[in-house]
């Protein structure tokens, strides 16, 4: 089903949704800086032409999340659950790269081995209104990662910006619940034609040719390679590439309490931090950026494929854009891919 939503009705449309749903969408925190947040009023929504700094994973897997609260009541300790998601939710505005990343996170938090109740409850309660990426950047490489700027997987509804209006594609049963809405009209052939043109143009613009063929096997042979000295040397050891990565999902669990009352919280953690692998004895099995940068690359292109059969990078380009040392994962991948030639020549 393809519908049309005039932009002049957009805020009213959202206000209508907010009666039944909690709305999460990009919010601008400063000029050019945005994140996904719970919306209080539709005017806060900022659908910008490019991705917010922090990825949409945050809506399902917040940077800091209370797992339960506890406190002493007399001699007993009382535990309060925070698992339940009270209201239905809508996630508005994520691009195909962020949604592909969510499908990767599904295999971690809602896979066959583990079901993380916090993640699963939020996922189940959420209807996703994805957004076509009509202005892919030169740093995007989603098309090399089995995705694309109009990749619809993960969206229940899919918006394409037509200028004066959005074309709204209803893709799933969940999406159908929103279909009957006074602001959604049937799209005409002009709308469909325009949407097709925008899709073609964006798809062409997003064409990239980064080859990942055989990367998993190559990395198997590269564990002790001096290559990682080079990668690690430039890294300053901040956490930007992991926190802003839509697929990175490591966390740390801590108790935060005072006077017998507190909460258990899980916070995002980062393999680029020295503290991440620091053991209680003081020993650190990943003592330098060499081992830490290797871990990050290995997890994405070797361990994750081994565990779930998919590469854990969606090509959003955030790590390329925001690395303070201007390290470019595309260049690193190219170097890794050259490794094959060197080793086969040696044979």
């Amino acid at each position: 089903m393809k519908l049309r939503l005039d932009k002049k009705d957009f805020h009213s449309f959202l206000r209508g949704l907010m009666v039944h749903y909690e709305l999460f969408a990009p919010v601008q925190l400063g000029e050019g800086v945005s994140v996904y947040k719970k919306i209080g009023d539709p005017s806060e929504v900022a659908l910008l032409p490019s991705n917010p700094q922090k990825p949409a994973k945050e809506v399902f897997f917040p940077q800091s999340e209370t797992m339960f609260r506890y406190g002493k009541v007399g001699v007993q300790t009382e535990v309060t659950s925070t698992e339940k998601v009270e209201r239905k939710r809508i996630l508005l505005g994520p691009r195909p790269c962020d949604l592909k990343a969510v499908s990767l996170l599904d295999s971690v938090f809602a896979g066959k081995d583990y079901r993380d109740v916090y993640y699963v409850n939020k996922r189940n309660a959420t209807t996703v209104i994805g957004m076509a990426c009509d202005q892919p950047l030169s740093t995007c490489f989603c098309s090399s990662m089995d995705g694309g700027p109009f990749f619809r997987e993960g969206s229940d509804l899919f918006l394409i910006d037509l200028g004066e209006a959005y074309l709204v594609e209803v893709l799933t049963e969940k999406g159908k619940a929103i279909e009957t809405n006074e602001f959604l009209k049937e799209a005409d052939t002009n709308d469909l034609e325009l949407a097709r043109e925008i899709e073609q143009k964006a798809t062409k613009k997003a064409e990239t040719s980064l080859s990942l063929e055989g990367i998993e096997g190559r990395l198997d042979r590269m564990v002790e390679s001096p290559f990682w000295d080079q990668v690690g040397e430039k890294c300053i050891g901040c956490r930007i590439c992991t926190y802003l990565c839509p697929t990175c999902h490591c966390f740390d669990i801590v108790d935060e309490d005072l006077n017998g009352k507190g909460e258990r919280v899980r916070h995002w953690d980062s393999c680029l931090s020295s503290l991440y692998s620091q053991e209680t004895s003081g020993h650190n099995p990943r003592p330098t950026n060499r081992e830490r940068t290797r871990q990050r690359l290995m997890h994405k292109f070797n361990y994750f494929p081994k565990n779930v059969g998919r590469i854990a990078c969606v090509g959003c380009g955030r790590c390329v854009l925001y690395c303070p040392a201007d390290s470019d994962i595309r260049e690193t991948i190219k170097e890794i891919q050259k490794f094959k030639c060197q080793s086969s020549n040696a044979k």
């Binding site: 050019g32 740093t139 901040c238 802003l244 201007d326």
Partner: protein, 314 residues
């Protein structure tokens, strides 16, 4: 040309084994960017560049290269950080060969980005002009209008200590009378100041890029990471974010060269230098001290003097 001389000098230093490696700037993969590079092979010196986008303070890498003799490419501010680190005994003086370059003031890529519509794909700097190109635009900008705030007010463009100086000495003067962000901050009431600080730090995601980019942040265990005692929680509560940023700024008092690397590294574009630069101004006013300007003078808050006036004791 500076770039040519830089490559020549680097080659000479590597060939004569005067240094083990050169840490300098190379071409970044994106427009408006340079990237730190590490050269050990004299054949590779042509990867070294010098342009308006060499904004990193490469002294931050020195902590990881303690066992090596390093040839480090430094601007004025970077050389001051290196001097301050030498004073703090982070390495021995003979481990360091400073290749000084008089700085033309660096271009702020975010300012340039905001000046145009659409993605920037190519940029070249020619004299006072920046030629910025995208898919369907080409604009010429006046370089001077797009400098980093810290570079606009810089009065130490010349490396104050260098083992070799490439390029002609430059005249030292600030482009602005006062630091505009400090002025703006001082013009606020205490409540407004707090609101501003809270709004800026409220964007923090605790990636610690500001800490890692800063040459002066090198504690073996940063107070934010300490678990025994645990000074603060690990989340994004306003009090934790504010605590981190206040202490980070205060730890820099009398040690910060004002290079601005912290602010450039921040992915959330949090203003940081209005705090550190104000502390720098205070230290200059109260103690007549500027980081790394006089080679053997200790930072006032790191030393003790019987002649201290101790005016704060009433």
């Amino acid at each position: 040309m500076i770039q040519e001389r830089l490559r020549q000098k680097a080659k000479e230093l590597l060939e004569s084994k005067a240094v083990d490696l050169i840490v300098g700037f190379g071409e970044g993969s994106l427009p408006l960017r340079a990237t730190p590079i590490f050269i050990r092979n004299p054949q590779e010196v042509n990867r070294l560049i010098w342009n308006s986008f060499c904004g990193h303070n490469l002294s931050t890498y020195l902590h990881k290269l303690k066992s090596l003799k390093v040839g480090l490419v430094v601007k004025g501010c970077d050389s001051r950080s290196a001097v301050a680190l030498l004073l703090e005994k982070r390495f021995k003086a003979d481990q360091l060969f400073l290749i000084g370059v008089p700085c033309q003031r660096m271009v702020d890529r975010r300012r340039v980005k905001r000046a145009v519509q659409g993605e920037i794909l190519r940029v070249s700097a020619q004299g006072d002009e920046l030629i910025v190109e995208g898919e369907d635009f080409k604009t010429t900008l006046n370089r001077k209008d797009f400098l980093y705030p810290s570079c606009q007010v810089c009065v130490h463009r010349m490396p104050l200590r260098a083992d070799v100086l490439l390029g002609k000495p430059v005249e030292e003067f600030s482009l602005l009378e006062t630091h505009p962000e400090i002025e703006e901050f001082l013009g606020k009431t205490p409540e407004e100041r707090w609101d501003y600080f809270e709004r800026e730090t409220g964007r923090c995601i605790r990636c610690y890029a500001c800490r890692e980019a800063c040459p002066m942040c090198y504690c073996t265990e940063c107070f934010v990471d300490s678990s025994n005692p645990q000074w603060m929680e690990k989340g994004l509560s306003p009090s934790d974010l504010e605590f981190y940023h206040i202490v980070r700024a205060y730890h820099q008092t009398g040690r910060c060269s004002g290079c601005g690397a912290c602010e450039r590294a921040c992915p959330m574009e949090i203003r940081l230098t209005y705090l550190t630069q104000k502390l720098n101004e205070d230290v200059k006013e109260l103690f007549g001290f500027e980081t790394g300007v006089v080679g053997d003078a200790f930072a006032p808050l790191s030393t003790y003097d019987m002649g201290d006036k101790q005016e704060f004791i009433k």
